[in-house]
């Protein structure tokens, strides 16, 4: 074989060897994948977002090509690859069917992009999947009747987080929450309260509609209630402590309230201005003079103190020497104090100028009411709780109480005077003409009857009379406690009920629970012009805790 032939053969063999070697490099196995910095933003999505547009900004990417590398299997991303324009791009996330998401709660899964020249870039994604919870209500119907509060629970029977929201409800009902989130296999209590403000007497019903993310979507609760009488809107002022007494001056429109724990006097004017004074003694009773120039208070330390109506400063304090139960001002420079039952037995007359204390000789144990008769030099009293409890008439025409005290043999169950002092309204609904002082001592008779108030369907708390309106206002609680507290306006000549309105219930929050309390009205005052009614109200919470407030209601 010639050299040329050998050379050609070698060349051909070289070609063969190149063929064999061309496919032998393993370098591709060791190409290192670049990792870029994560995107600073985080995508927050829930399964309610069926479609979500995302801005994808990566300054250092320039105009590079990107491709989605890794993403949650139950979502689709569009487009899956694109190019940045000066570091800016965007894509859209769609969750076609959330039932493919196999768990609920917060899911932290990154989106990973392969960006040319940058490497793998993570875009943090927090997806909250509420899942597919089951839901039901503790009841499908709530009948309030005359009640103002009730509650129901919304249950999550599992499978996800239950998100609910009030979609529709009657206007007269309020819910403690308008929306909420219930964790799996738990429930949430929702308190309901009814407002009967300006509603006509009658029966009402409606439906509360809750929209949820549960399988059943909509939950409905039927509600119904009854309105006896409309309530009137009032202006509320809360009173700290326990009210022991209250009085009102028709001449000035000033109300005074004595409270203890903390020991304090409040004065409230018709313009809502409130003054208070903290006391270093425990009040028992308080009163305002007819002219409204001075306030008198009695205390457990036997003090009788006079207060300025202007600034509540103490003008004078006189030691009475007894534990009193009630105080009255005579408008004649004298104050009168009834004794505490079984503690002292005699009424005291106290000269406010000299401080002289004169003990009446009449045995007066149990005298717990003592009121100045408007326009007369008389005090009326009664022995509440006794039988009979008597109408006791004191003559104060000479300053100190006359030694002879008239005691009419009748049962009053508390009494209130007409504005002109000519009539006595008893808690027994009887009306008597105010008896003059007889000087007879015990009188085995009743004063002249003037009539009887129309039957009221409840227990009387308090009364007040308005000469301007020629009406008697009576606050009472219905025998059916669900009816709540009402005020009836009585014609002061015919003694029939002209109209009634409901007193607004007291709503308080106690131990994180919303309570609706039916108020009692121990004190009620109508102003001189018959324009404004003031109620001092008490509500009893759990464990006997009392909540006090006053409410001023404008009358039409």
């Amino acid at each position: 074989m010639s050299n040329n032939k050998i050379f050609l053969s070698v060349k051909l063999l070289a070609v063969i060897i190149v063929f064999a070697l061309v496919s032998c490099s393993n370098d591709f196995l060791h190409v290192e994948q670049k990792i870029g910095s994560p995107v600073k933003d985080t995508i927050y999505m829930t399964d309610f977002d069926s479609q979500f547009d995302v801005s994808f900004n990566l300054a250092k990417a320039g105009n590079a090509h990107w491709r989605v590398l890794q993403y949650p299997a139950w979502m689709t991303i569009s487009p899956m690859e694109d190019n940045f324009m000066e570091g800016k791009s965007s894509f859209q996330i769609v969750v076609p069917d959330k039932t493919f998401i196999s768990t609920y709660g917060a899911i932290n899964l990154p989106l990973v992009f392969d960006v040319d020249g940058v490497g793998l870039v993570q875009y943090p994604l927090v997806f909250f999947n509420f899942g597919n919870p089951g839901s039901y209500l503790s009841t499908n119907e709530l009948m309030f009747d005359y009640r103002s509060a009730a509650s129901f629970s919304i249950y999550n029977s599992g499978g996800g987080f239950l998100k609910w929201e009030v979609k529709d409800k009657p206007a007269w009902i309020s819910l403690s929450s308008q929306n909420g989130l219930v964790t799996p296999n738990s429930n949430e209590q929702i308190n309901l309260s009814v407002s009967r403000l300006n509603m006509q007497k009658g029966s009402y019903s409606g439906e509360i509609t809750l929209s949820t993310n549960s399988i059943s979507k909509i939950l409905k609760l039927k509600v119904s209630m009854k309105v006896t009488d409309p309530s009137l809107p009032g202006t509320i002022g809360n009173i700290e402590g326990e009210v022991v007494d209250a009085d009102f001056c028709k001449a000035t429109g000033l109300m005074v309230i004595a409270a203890r724990n903390p020991n304090r006097l409040y004065t409230v004017k018709s313009d809502q201005s409130v003054k208070t004074i903290d006391l270093d003694k425990i009040p028992i009773s308080v009163t305002i003079s007819e002219s409204g120039d001075v306030i008198a208070g009695i205390f457990t330390n036997t003090d009788l103190s006079l207060f300025s109506t202007e600034n509540l400063s103490i003008l004078k304090t006189i030691k009475t020497g007894i534990i009193p139960s009630e105080v009255a001002l005579g408008g004649n420079g004298w104050a009168y104090v009834s004794p505490k039952q079984y503690d002292s037995n005699y009424v005291l007359s106290i000269n406010l100028n000299t401080g002289e204390v004169i003990k009446n000789k009449e045995y007066m144990n149990g005298l717990t009411l003592l009121k100045k008769v408007p326009g007369k030099n008389l005090l009326y009293g009664s022995k509440i709780g006794w039988s009979p409890d008597f109408l006791v008439v004191f003559d104060i025409s000479k300053g100190a109480v006359n030694e002879v005290v008239d005691q009419w043999w009748i049962t009053l169950q508390k009494f209130w005077m007409s504005e002109d002092g000519l009539r006595v309204f008893s808690g027994m609904r009887k009306i008597y003409r105010s008896p003059e002082y007889q000087g007879k001592g015990s009188i085995n008779d009743a004063p002249v009857l003037d009539g009887e108030i129309e039957q009221l369907p409840g227990s009387i708390f308090s009364m007040d009379h308005s000469s301007a309106l020629k009406e008697l206002f009576i606050a009472y609680t219905g025998y059916n406690s669900e009816v709540g507290c009402k005020v009836s306006r009585i014609d002061d000549a015919g003694y029939f009920i002209k109209k009634s309105f409901a007193v607004n219930n007291i709503t308080i929050e106690e131990n994180n629970t919303l309570l609706t309390l039916i108020p009692e009205v121990p004190y009620m005052f109508i102003d001189k012009l018959g324009k404004e009614l003031t109620l001092v109200e008490r509500g009893s919470g759990n464990n006997g805790k009392a909540y006090w407030r006053y409410e001023k209601i404008k009358l039409n």
């Binding site: 032939k5 064999a20 591709f28 196995l29 491709r67």
Partner: protein, 255 residues
């Protein structure tokens, strides 16, 4: 990707090759008559050829497709992938020493490459995620074997030939799955046969056109992901069928 065994019959191939030239051993007389007008055949002791062409893989892709679909790749992408994969390029070379004017022995080498690529979605092992990206493979199949060449002149310039080779296939599959590379290698015995025509275009150079068939099946591979290697024995449908049919053309140098 694993491909199923071809149903092509190996004995049939051998018979075709052996009797395609009317039996190389029985044709000595005919050849001696033709030596007079075919000086290239009579005078050349060495014959070297190079060729190139297209190959078509004959193995079934059914099992491989199924496996790819199990990763979460869509049917459409799988079909597209295997359409690309079936066709490849082939190049080869061979060298023979002609012990008789019509019969030579030597070495036969061929390289077949094919590749496929598709951007697709693949389920991640965590059950939560999907991957999206390129799924690509490039396969190199090198065959080297001892070969027997028989050729028969038709006229002065044209002859037909047959080759039958037995040797080894060296298999190399470069896989790139989204971001993960892997290398699958292995080797197996193989038989390669070729039938073709040779046309003399110069004193020592002829142009060859042929059709070939390679039969081989891979039963054991080594997998390497750049971190670790693992030997895997392929059984049943998992066996890698490397059989292919190819057409090629090339030059033959006679010395």
């Amino acid at each position: 990707m694993r491909r199923k065994e071809s149903s092509f019959s190996l004995p049939l191939l051998v018979l075709i090759l052996l009797f395609s030239n009317h039996s190389v051993f029985a044709q000595q007389e005919i050849l001696s008559n033709r030596q007079q007008f075919s000086p290239a055949i009579t005078s050349s002791k060495f014959q070297v050829s190079v060729d190139g062409g297209l190959g078509y893989l004959l193995g079934s892709t059914k099992a491989a497709k199924k496996q790819m679909q199990s990763y979460g790749v869509s049917n459409q992408d799988v079909d597209s992938y295997y359409r690309q994969f079936k066709f490849g390029e082939q190049a080869g070379a061979s060298a023979y020493y002609m012990i008789k004017p019509f019969l030579g022995i030597g070495l036969d080498y061929s390289l077949f490459t094919t590749k496929a690529c598709v951007n697709s979605f693949i389920d991640a092992p965590d059950g939560w995620s999907k991957y999206y990206g390129p799924y690509r493979e490039k396969i190199y199949t090198n065959f080297l074997g001892i070969s027997c060449l028989s050729k028969q002149p038709i006229n002065e310039r044209l002859s037909y030939y047959g080759k039958l080779s037995a040797g080894l296939v060296f298999y190399r599959d470069e896989v790139f799955l989204i971001v993960s590379p892997a290398l699958v290698t292995g080797n197996a015995s193989a038989i390669r046969g070729e039938l073709g025509f040779s046309y003399s275009i110069a004193k020592h150079v002829s142009l060859n056109v042929g059709i070939s068939y390679l039969f081989s099946s891979l039963t054991k591979v080594t997998m390497n992901n750049g971190i670790a290697t693992q030997d895997v024995t392929l059984e049943g449908d998992s066996k890698e069928n490397l059989s292919r049919l190819a057409i090629s053309t090339g030059l033959q140098f006679n010395f």
